[in-house]
């Protein structure tokens, strides 16, 4: 049973269980997601469903996209994503909500992680830093050390891990448990932390 929905990360809090345990949860506002397009084997060569999320004003959408929304008969949406091979049979104009999921489901979350900016090798690649603080060493405790040998090969190998931009990339986390569904607010509570800052777009997929 494969189900999918788009959501927006809101933040984290806890849920206290009856036996006194505190479960850390991330609150995600998910759906309602209208089906904007259905791809099928005959016409497109693959099966998929295009979902929209977060209705916006018409003036914020360009004309080609607006045409697509008009054709589907749905409100203009901020985000559009395709999901392959959903098990539920949907038509254009249908709406998917958090009720696709139930408490206890294991889901897979994909989103863009927080950007960390330009970071050194210790934070970015978990290097140990240059060993000693004494014996004449100064100013290089967090440096990468040697990046290659001398006359052979006389160059630095491609792909060598160095300092640079970190984060801001797509991250997928699997086996996230659904702790609770609040359908009248379109909310889904997921156990543990999820990628990205608040307001990040998240894909929630149940395999």
């Amino acid at each position: 049973m494969k189900a999918a929905i788009l959501g927006k990360k809101l933040g984290m809090t806890s849920v206290l269980t009856e036996d006194g345990r505190a479960i850390p949860v991330t609150v995600v506002e998910a759906g309602p997601c209208p089906v904007v397009m259905v791809r099928d084997n005959e016409k497109d060569g693959y099966k998929a469903v295009q979902l929209g999320f977060e209705a916006i004003e018409e003036r914020k959408v360009n004309k080609p996209l607006m045409g697509q929304f008009k054709k589907a008969g749905v409100e203009p949406q901020r985000y559009l994503k395709e999901f392959r091979e959903l098990s539920k049979d949907v038509k254009v104009g249908d709406t998917l909500t958090v009720e696709e999921f139930v408490k206890g489901d294991k889901v897979r979350i994909t989103g863009t992680g927080k950007g960390r900016g330009f970071q050194g090798v210790i934070k970015r690649h978990h290097f140990g830093g240059v060993g000693m603080q004494t014996h004449g060493q100064s100013d290089r405790q967090r440096h990468p050390g040697s990046i290659g040998s001398s006359s052979y090969p006389s160059r630095v190998f491609k792909g060598l891990r160095m300092a640079g931009r970190m984060g801001g990339k797509q991250i997928t986390v699997r086996n996230i448990e659904v702790v609770e569904i609040i359908p009248d607010r379109n909310l889904i509570l997921l156990k543990g932390s999820l990628p990205g800052a608040p307001n990040t777009l998240l894909e929630i997929i149940k395999q």
Binding site: L10, G11, T13, E18
Partner: protein, 127 residues
Amino acid sequence: MNTMNLVEQMNIERAINARKEKDGENFAEIPNFKPGDTINVAVRVVEGEKERIQNFKGIVIGRKGSGINETFLIRKISNGVGVERIFPIFSPMIQSITLIRVGRARRAKLYYLRGMSEKKIRQKTSL
């Protein structure tokens, strides 16, 4: 952020309702207490199938966190050994909290009580 507050409020209410359901008529509101106060915490202890109440009486060292994540640290001297426990303030495992003695404290965290004798602590926290 508004929705977040709402979710938190909902969970707090649920935790309180869990206590109401367990205790029925015996349900007691959590009183307002602050560092320096002496309180008694009635804790549910689950032993196999059975559940009983255990009392933990001591002086509040501090409160920490906010909303549903708020906890308090409480300290007592048991058989000459200092014992400290941290409880989430909304934990359904707490049956009741009773305020025994209101104390005076000039700071928020009373970690400095740890090395003191009971007499000194009493002097330090008396009104």
